[in-house]
């Protein structure tokens, strides 16, 4: 295995293990909840990066994957008594397949048109689910407390779900890294740089784009299932929150699009920053303003993000942190 020799592979494994073990050491539940959010952000940003950073298609409505995964999972568990593992896998596969079919349609649109269509899809799904009585309409789905009994009680189940979320985070990073080094990834980069030229050179652009879109839906859908299972409830406003999908774009931009480390670091920093702003009383009213100003400054003055700046400053970093 060539991957085992790469330092970056071991960095991903080591950090993920640290995430998993650290809160368990002191049985620190507050820290665990913070890290859950951080890991969810990393999952969303990393998978979104497959579209924005690798393929050059701005997906504004990526949160629809997360929400749909959550809804499918809770519906299967609450309504049909499925076990968690089967439910999240099924939710991930169904969301991916739906996205693949959708992708063949809307990926014909380019630039701003594609971005608008993804917003439209997210809003359409949100409004549909809000009216869909089988999924509780705007009230959403609640899981009864007894659901957690089969997993050894609620406290135990929450730890299990935490490890699973960290696992999904590690998988997202590895997936992102493998795609970057694969021939498939090279095809995506070619599409990003110049789609028409890529087609002329033999890249099957429509298929590549649709697969990338579908792949970028799988792990966020699984993560959505786990996250809302952990919460025990889901409502449309929270599941399809357009704001979170734009915050994911901010994370990707903050760290540096098109790299593996960038969205990871960007998501981590964004979560810290958001927590800091929300908990500091004098700033909490202005957390949106500060996040907005930050985003504007990145776009205007550092469009390559943190990694872009690092690569320029120390070119050797590129060899270690991809």
């Amino acid at each position: 295995m060539k991957a085992l020799k790469s330092p970056f592979f071991w960095i991903i494994i080591a950090v993920s293990l640290l995430y998993a073990v650290y809160p368990k050491l002191g049985n620190n539940i507050t820290l665990r909840e913070t890290l859950v959010l951080s890991a969810i952000y990393v999952i969303l940003a990393t998978n979104l990066n497959l579209m924005i950073g690798y393929t050059g298609y701005v997906n504004f409505g990526s949160i629809v994957f997360f929400g749909l995964g959550g809804y499918l999972t809770l519906w299967l568990i609450g309504g049909y008594g499925w076990n968690l593992y089967a439910a999240v896998l099924f939710a991930g596969v169904v969301t991916s397949l739906l996205t693949l079919a959708l992708g063949f349609g809307i990926l014909r649109l380019r630039g701003a048109y594609f971005a608008l269509a993804t917003i439209g899809v997210n809003e359409a799904v949100k409004d549909f689910v809000s009216n869909f009585d089988k999924w509780g309409g705007s009230e959403g789905i609640f899981l009864p407390f007894s659901t957690y009994k089969s997993m050894g009680g609620a406290a135990h189940a929450l730890w299990t779900v935490y490890y699973l979320i960290i696992g999904v985070m590690a998988l997202s990073l590895l997936l992102s890294w493998f795609i970057k080094r694969s021939k498939f990834g090279l095809g995506l980069f070619a599409i990003r740089e110049d789609e028409d030229a890529a087609i002329v050179l033999g890249v099957k652009a429509p298929v590549y784009k649709a697969i990338a879109y579908s792949v970028s839906a799988f792990l966020p859908a699984v993560a959505g299932g786990l996250y809302f299972f952990k919460n025990g409830s889901i409502v449309p406003e929270e599941a399809f929150n357009l704001h979170l999908s734009i915050e994911s774009i901010v994370m990707v931009m903050l760290g540096g699009q098109g790299t593996v480390t960038g969205p990871w670091v960007g998501a981590f920093l964004y979560e810290r920053l958001r927590g800091l702003l929300l908990t500091t009383p004098s700033l909490s009213n202005f957390h949106l303003v500060i996040a907005g100003v930050l985003l504007l400054l990145i776009i205007l003055f550092a469009p390559g993000g943190l990694m872009g700046w690092l690569y320029k400053r120390w070119a050797r970093v590129r060899g270690v942190l991809e």
Binding site: I52, G105, R108, L109, L116, V121, A124, D127, N285
Partner: protein, 284 residues
């Protein structure tokens, strides 16, 4: 029957206001290929500017004038700060920079006015025409939207400055070679687009209660309307707004109001897929 008729009429009147908002969005896209994601928050800002002038004792319809002037200069400032630097960059950049403007506006607005609803309380007449009841506010909002649209057309087709705007929209390099200062024209266009958004917001504020977050709904409606008419095409956007209003009006008596959004967004995605240049062909 009468109920359906009045529902459709209501839809038509409000559709004209949607159209005005959509023209603001589509004008900016047509001139500089920027999808303005701050559109919704600017609409909300228009509502609150009207509220401030109204609170200072000005009649709501007289307040439209200072709202328009403020809107224009606000747009020019937004252009100079957030758009000018990245106007030739990839679409992601302008989408994100205008979105960050929206975050800043909503953040400041929430701090100032919280997210609780406000409304403009003034005397509204009610007319009854052949059994169809309509308020003066609705009629005046629709008429004002039409007048502003005519004003815009007069500006675009009958004045030198307006012709320069159209020239820059058609081909920026060629316009520059003809001696048109394109940077100024772009700033002016962004100002006008913002002004139209604020005016439509102000008109909506005379009809319904609003919060600082209300703009989001109208931003999405503007997207749907301008995509219906073909992005970049002002006439199309107005027609798109009317169609949207008519759809809302004609389905309202038959289904629950919350389903209209589903219908609108499905139409939106379908139009993007199958008629990306809009229903009326329009130029790309």
């Amino acid at each position: 029957m009468l109920q359906i008729f009045s529902s459709v009429m209501d839809g038509l009147l409000i559709g004209l206001v949607y159209g005005l908002a959509a023209i603001g969005l589509t004008l900016i896209f047509g001139v500089m290929d920027v999808v303005n994601l701050a559109h919704g928050s600017i609409i909300a800002l228009g509502m609150f500017f009207l509220y401030l002038f109204f609170g200072a004792g000005l009649h709501p319809y007289l307040s439209l004038v200072p709202v328009a002037i403020l809107g224009f200069f606000f747009g020019v400032i937004v252009y100079l700060i957030a758009v000018k630097r990245i106007i030739s960059g990839p679409p992601l950049m302008s989408l994100l920079s205008t979105f960050s403007v929206s975050m800043i506006i909503i953040g400041i607005g929430t701090a100032l006015w919280s997210t609780s609803p406000y409304n403009i309380n003034f005397k509204v007449e009610t007319y009854n025409i052949l059994g169809y009841t309509v308020t003066s506010a609705r009629l005046i909002a629709a008429v004002a939207a039409v007048l502003v649209t005519f004003g815009l057309y007069f500006f675009l087709y009958r004045t030198v400055l307006g012709k320069a705007v159209r020239a820059v929209a058609n081909n920026r390099e060629a316009a520059e070679l003809m001696g048109i200062p394109s940077q100024q024209i772009l700033a002016i266009s962004f100002g006008i687009g913002t002004m139209l958004a604020m005016l439509s917001g102000a008109l909506i504020a005379t009809l319904f209660p609003f919060t600082i977050l209300s703009g989001g709904v109208y931003e999405l409606k503007s997207f749907v309307a301008s995509v219906l008419g073909g992005l970049g095409n002002p006439t199309g956007a107005l027609l798109g707004g009317i169609i949207l209003g008519l759809i809302e009006g004609s389905v309202a008596p038959f289904i629950q109001i919350s389903w209209t959004n589903v219908i609108e967004f499905v139409i939106f995605v379908l139009i993007l897929l199958f008629f990306p240049t809009g229903l009326f062909g329009g130029r790309k």
